[in-house]
Subunit: 195 residues, 2 copies
DNA sequence: GTAGCTTGTTGAGCGTTGCTCAGCAGGCCG
DNA sequence: CGGCCTGCTGAGCAACGCTCAACAAGCTAC
């Protein structure tokens, strides 16, 4: 409840970069509790303590803003999963898998919201996640030492959908041990790519 | 282009059932070309030749309307996939798989839009598809003669995500023959449930 | 210090959309 | 023909995405 008698909070200017980052950050925080369609510019602006107009100064369109938020989320995931340099190929894949499960365990709500937001409707938004999925598959195939042909690519992408879904279910209702899960996922991937 | 001089089309009353069905039908037709967020009540009402108000008489909320449309789409899929009575258990699963691929082949755009709409954001909507997925998995497990325990259920659900994704990719870019695809999907399912 | 410029920032306002409500009117009944 | 049930409409409100002209914070130049 803002006191109506408050003279007015001293308006402070932020650099363009700061403001953009702040707005994207607010989007990331809102993501887990708010489906895209219910995310309003008003709410974001209110949280940032700025006018709606300013948000449109940084993002020409609501879609553009939402895409930027999605991209930020995708980048976080990407940076977390990418194998550190100097890892052996075998370790790269199992390491990524392990970190992926850990990621979903830690940011369950956020990650699920991210995936749903990316999967749902809007092509501009889903493209962002598609791209990240594509890059991840590329890394995985390289680590496995397999040629990146179209057929295998499809299989690994579909395997990723399998993984997303299974891990998503597993964190809500663990029906096996963590190592069992990791083993199963790795095994399915191996069998699929061996074909 | 509606002639402005048209005296006024004779307003005709429909029974409540007819009108509801018509509105849902319009939703189904709009689904493939229109992401949820861009589906407007105005557009639907315009196509039905009725006022916005009437739509709110049948569906209290836009969400409720959209849920009804999704349910209709899910029911169509369900009826198409359900094995006819008197089929042998083995045929049931491969038959369902075959019909599923056929379904995606035939209604590619519509089905993809349906899945995306169901996956995206809104819990009320996604629940509808979740339910259908659950029933399909139940049928599959029964046909396979396997107990419906939690673990297997998760695996088959995840396999379904795998299948959705792979078939979706395959129809856009066939990297293998149709029988190969069916065989692969069936094989993966068998290996997963055999564990 | 102050004039001036850059640019972060705002408020008023427009068109559209989801949704409400009081009441009109089609068509079946007596 | 009169009455009633109920399908149906139009006006209108609040909230939203988005635009635009103008204000003002804070740096630089003198």
């Amino acid at each position: 409840m803002t006191a109506s008698s408050a003279p007015r909070p001293p308006r402070l200017r932020r650099s363009a970069g700061d403001r953009r980052a702040q707005l994207v950050q607010i989007g990331l925080e809102l993501l887990p509790t708010t489906p895209v369609q219910e995310l309003t510019i008003d709410e974001v602006a209110r949280r940032a303590g700025i006018s709606r107009s300013l948000l449109f100064h940084y993002f020409a369109t609501k879609r553009e803003y939402y895409t930027a938020v999605t991209r930020a989320a995708a980048d976080l995931l990407w940076e977390h999963l990418l194998p550190p340099p100097g890892t052996s190929p075998q370790e790269q894949v199992s390491g990524m898998l392990d970190r992926f499960v850990g990621w979903v365990e830690t940011y369950r709500e956020t990650h699920l919201a991210f995936v749903r937001g990316a999967a749902g409707g809007d092509p501009w938004v889903s493209e962002v996640y598609e791209e990240t999925r594509g890059r991840l598959v590329e890394v995985a195939l390289t680590a496995l030492g397999l040629p990146d042909d179209l057929r295998r690519r499809q299989l690994v992408l579909a395997w990723f959908a399998f993984t997303e879904d299974l891990v998503g279910q597993w964190v809500e209702e663990p029906t096996m041990s963590r190592p069992e899960l990791l083993d199963l996922l790795h095994d399915v991937l191996d069998r699929l790519t061996a074909r």
